[in-house]
């Protein structure tokens, strides 16, 4: 048993820095000293609602990079730098037979068991992926969200000439990065009300607008909904070209009504992208190959001690880009 300084979320949704007791790892487990942990929109949802948490008090965080300190089964050498595969599938359902992210009762690291916003975490070794030696840990922390973005982009083999991204939080940024690396000639338009986010989009060559006015900007071949605001799907259907595709990667929680006839008449393909399939190792390779394309996407970084104050502020005002903490 060892102690780990950690962000603690109580069932009454109070945040503080405390200490968790971490069990010694057994065979099939590793004790990972965490170097960096990122904040996802779903973490903020957990902080607001307590949804999905199975163990209280919770320590959120499913995007993290660290170093293996103990590994009794020797699946990883001590000192190996790893990122975590955030998915925790049940392993028994029909969905799991197809892919982990199609599990009927999928859980996520940080919700099923304590996550990365702490000094050390006990992680099943089958959830660990080795980081390439050339990749800095500060960038490797982006591997999980980049895998999510890659999975979303992979839904549409032909991206066409015009892409519209709704929402330029970290996932929208990473979708843009992947499109720019894959097809730099594609014209990307970004819609986000946040001036700093539009500034980042413009810095990477996108046309960035606060509000999309149909007819003002050409309709897109593919629309990525990385915002999930109320009526985002209705807007996506309106702003996509006939025969185009919509990829929903955001977790919008507001019910909305659409006219199915519009989907049929426009001949649209609508894809949902949940987490990722086999993109996590690919994400690590891409980060190692093009570090300068990703560095600017980490906009805020803090010592873990600052996490309660910073996260409380983020619940009211989202950060411009990816926020990471150093345990």
């Amino acid at each position: 048993m060892s102690s780990s300084r950690a962000l603690i979320l109580t069932e009454s949704l109070e945040l503080s820095i405390g200490v968790r007791e971490v069990a010694d790892p057994g065979v099939g487990e590793a004790l990972v000293r965490i170097e960096w942990a990122g904040i996802c929109g779903s973490d903020l949802h957990v902080l607001r609602t307590g949804d999905w948490v199975r163990v209280w008090p919770a320590t959120p965080g499913h995007e993290f990079v660290g170093v293996v300190e103990q590994c009794p089964g020797a699946e990883f050498t001590i000192g190996t730098r790893v990122v975590v595969d955030s998915r925790v599938p049940c392993g028994a359902c029909d969905g799991c037979a197809r892919a982990a992210n199609q599990c009927e009762s999928i859980g996520w690291v940080g919700e099923v068991f304590p996550g990365g916003l702490q000094e050390r975490a006990l992680i099943p070794t089958d959830l660990l992926v080795e980081v390439p030696a050339s990749l800095e840990p500060e960038l490797a922390v982006l591997a999980e969200p980049l895998a999510v973005a890659l999975h979303a982009v992979n839904k549409v083999p032909d991206l066409g000439a015009e892409v519209l991204i709704l929402g330029y939080g970290p996932i929208g940024m990473l979708v843009h990065a992947e499109i720019a690396l894959r097809r730099p000639e594609i014209r990307v338009t970004v819609v986000d009300p946040s001036p700093p986010r539009r500034g980042i989009a413009a810095a990477f060559g996108a046309v960035a607008v606060a509000n999309y006015v149909d007819g003002d900007i050409a309709k897109a071949d593919v629309v990525f909904d990385a915002a999930g605001y109320p009526n985002a799907l209705r807007d996506s259907i309106e702003w996509v070209r006939n025969g185009g595709a919509i990829v929903i990667v955001a977790l919008g929680h507001a019910a909305e009504s659409i006219l199915p006839a519009h989907v049929a008449e426009k001949g649209l393909r609508i894809h949902g992208a949940n987490g990722f399939a086999d993109e996590l190792p690919v994400a690590l390779t891409k980060l190692a190959a093009s570090p300068e394309r990703f560095r600017a996407l980490i906009t805020d970084a803090y010592p873990l001690a600052d996490a309660p104050e910073v996260l409380r502020a983020m619940l009211h005002e989202p950060a411009a880009g990816k926020v990471v903490f150093r345990p």
Binding site: G199, R295, A296, T299, A301, Y302, P303
Partner: protein, 366 residues
């Protein structure tokens, strides 16, 4: 050979050796010692350099960049000169304006390059100590009465303290028109709006002013060496005649053109550096560590480098010891990439959270 050695020793007497900032092995992104732009050049600049690499058999053509830059600055083309980094402008000023009979006025401490070119010219150095990290403008004005050149970086390096435009005008009004005042704005891109100088108005009112700028800092292309000077057409024409015809490389021209097209990138990276500066200064406030209020992409803090050296080495982070900058007992910290700055803040907390050094407001020898 011994005759040559004696001649060299005489020429080099007092000329300081430049000690560049360095990264620890394999830790370039953790280098906070050379005031480089943390997020690198824009994607457009990288693409332009790749495209220009295929044309390096040609002599550079700088006219378009020159004219675009003059238009952007708001001066006539004949009032601007491109240079091979801003350091070349120092050498040109020295070659044209300084000789053994002349006085060269500098702050103390000051840029090593200003000292070096002044000494090579054989001129007499008049060093005016800073006050609380700022230039002693009345002291410099008094020294400038019979001087040939005044070197005036704003924001100052290594202190980061900037001169307000009204103070600058007041100073210039007291300097003889025969004395060239070199206002080095290498870090002005990071300064608050209240420090922005009306360059066109200034050189019109004071023809003895030469504004010195660089693409090395906020434009993030230190590696290709591109700077420029802005001044009266008479001064610029003289400098142009003194400059080698192709001193600005084709790669620098290509990168400079792309930089001018990268305004969104420039805005983002400058904003990021300014936010990082505020975060670091707030941390120093919390820890009770003295620092000088910076308008640049670095902060100069009263921290003994040896005291934090082992923690820095463990973290792979390098900062600039004040010993290399004429200010022992201080360090200059470049505002780097957000994660590295968070590590640095953690490191400072670990060292100083229980035993703060210095006292706010006591800036002693500065």
């Amino acid at each position: 050979m011994s005759g040559l050695s004696e001649k060299l020793a005489a020429r080099l007497a007092g000329v300081p050796a430049y000690v560049p900032g360095s990264a620890l092995p394999g830790a370039l992104s953790r280098k906070l010692s050379s005031n480089e732009a943390a997020l690198g050049p824009s994607p457009q600049i990288v693409a332009a350099l790749q495209a220009a690499a295929g044309a390096v058999n040609r002599y550079p053509e700088e006219a378009e960049l020159h004219d675009r830059l003059a238009h952007r600055v708001g001066v006539a083309p004949e009032q601007l000169l491109l240079t091979n980094g801003s350091d070349e402008l120092c050498s040109l000023v020295s070659a044209l304006f300084l000789g053994p009979e002349d006085k060269s006025v500098l702050g103390d401490p000051s840029y090593a390059i200003d000292v070096k070119v002044s000494l090579f010219a054989g001129s007499q150095l008049v060093r005016v100590p800073l006050i609380s990290g700022a230039h002693d403008l009345p002291g410099m004005a008094a020294a400038a009465v019979d001087a040939a050149v005044v070197w005036l970086p704003t924001p100052h390096n290594p202190t980061g303290v900037s001169i307000r435009p009204a103070e600058l005008r007041e100073f210039l009004a007291t300097v003889p028109s025969s004395c060239l005042v070199v206002v080095d704005e290498a870090y002005a891109g990071y300064a608050d709006a209240e420090y922005v100088i009306d360059v066109a108005g200034l050189i019109s009112e004071f023809p003895n002013v030469l504004i010195q700028r660089t693409f090395s800092k906020d434009w993030a292309i230190a590696g290709v060496r591109l700077g420029y000077g802005i001044g009266s057409s008479e001064v610029i024409d003289a400098l142009r005649r003194a400059r080698a015809p192709f001193s600005v490389s084709g790669l620098a021209v290509a990168a400079g053109m792309a930089a001018l097209d990268s305004t969104a990138w420039h805005r983002m990276t400058v904003d990021r550096a300014r936010e990082g500066r505020e975060l670091l200064q707030a941390e120093l406030d919390r820890l009770g560590i003295d620092y000088l209020p910076s308008q640049a992409n670095f902060v100069f803090a009263r921290i003994s480098h040896p005291q934090i050296a082992s923690r820095l080495i463990s973290a792979g982070i390098s900062v600039r010891p004040g010993e290399n900058l004429g200010m022992p007992g201080w360090v200059r910290i470049t505002i780097g990439w957000a994660p590295i700055m968070a590590e640095l803040r953690s490191l400072l907390r670990a060292e100083f959270s229980t035993s703060a050094v210095g006292t706010k407001g006591n800036q002693g020898e500065l």
